[in-house]
């Protein structure tokens, strides 16, 4: 079992944590790394802020089938326009 992560490994764990996909051990490793590495601390802070903002913005996307429906309505309209 390893205790110390490299910076790129720490960044990977941090990314996974944003989607709640990191294990307890990984999180512990990350914490230890952050104690030692100010650069990664800055990165993690930024990354977490982004997650919060994404959450706060409450973004939604239309489902693919809903987009297809929109496209279809437009195509129908174009076709009507061509053959009056």
């Amino acid at each position: 079992m390893k205790l110390f992560l490299k910076c790129d490994e720490a960044a990977h764990v941090c990314d996974k944590s944003q989607y709640k996909e990191s294990s307890f051990l990984e999180k512990l490793n990350l914490k230890i790394h952050l104690l030692l590495c100010p650069l990664c601390r800055a990165h993690v802070k930024r990354n977490c802020t982004l997650t919060q903002n994404l959450h706060r913005s409450n973004l939604k996307t239309l489902r693919p089938e809903e987009k297809e429906l929109l496209k279809k309505r437009m195509e129908d309209e174009i076709n009507i326009g061509h053959n009056p």
Binding site: A11, H12, D15, K16, Q18, Y19, E21, R46, N47, T49, L50, N53, L54, R56, S57, N58, L59, K60, T61, L62, E66, K67, L69, L70, K71, R73, M74, E77, I78, G81
Partner: protein, 189 residues
């Protein structure tokens, strides 16, 4: 990066849904607060855009132009549902004629109340995020959206794009990095 200057010839209705549907949807949903109505309004906007395509002067971007049509559609929507006389009368306020007394607490604003302003600001943040996503490479943005906004499983995305999990995480990492930078530039300043 997408070129924001658009010539008349470049007005391309076939790409409208892919390029702008999500943006228009997020713009609409806070204003009408109804999924179905929002979709109808967007559909009407695209159709109106098709009809008045020749009026597009190229002075603004395609999206700004569509938004200006959408704004009018939203206003029309509220006119329509308010048209029978009396429906337009809305009583706002905590106090009504039947309640007695006027306690000071009841008249003061609740500081912890989530105000309409917050909702609007968060919505604008969302639109800023979509703007920043537009600046990413298309595949990166699509994968990031699937993973983050639509919360698809990692496995499913990997299968759909035929990439490995570590590949996916590299893409997500790059997207998050550019997005954070872009937001800091455009939103927090």
């Amino acid at each position: 990066m997408k070129d924001k200057k658009i010539d008349l010839e470049l007005l391309d209705p076939n790409r409208w849904v892919d390029n702008y549907a999500d943006y228009l949807y997020n713009y609409t949903i806070v204003r009408v607060n109804d999924h179905i109505v929002a979709q109808d309004l967007i559909s009407e906007t695209f159709l109106a855009g098709l009809k008045s395509k020749k009026n597009f002067k190229g002075e603004s971007t395609e999206r700004t132009w569509l938004i200006s049509i959408l704004k009018r559609k939203i206003i029309d929507h509220y006119r329509k549902i308010n048209s029978p006389k009396g429906k337009a009368e809305v009583h706002i306020g905590y106090k009504n004629d039947t309640s007695e007394g006027d306690w000071l607490e009841e008249n003061a604003a609740d500081l912890f109340d989530k105000t309409a302003e917050d909702t609007m600001e968060n919505n604008e943040l969302g639109l800023a995020i979509l703007d920043c996503l537009d600046k990413l490479p298309a595949k990166q943005a699509a994968i990031f959206k699937m993973k983050t906004i639509e919360s698809y499983d990692t496995e499913l995305i990997c299968k759909e794009y035929n990439i490995s999990a570590s590949n996916l995480w590299v893409i997500i990492h790059r997207a998050r990095k550019s997005l954070a930078e872009c937001l800091e530039k455009n939103w927090f300043n």
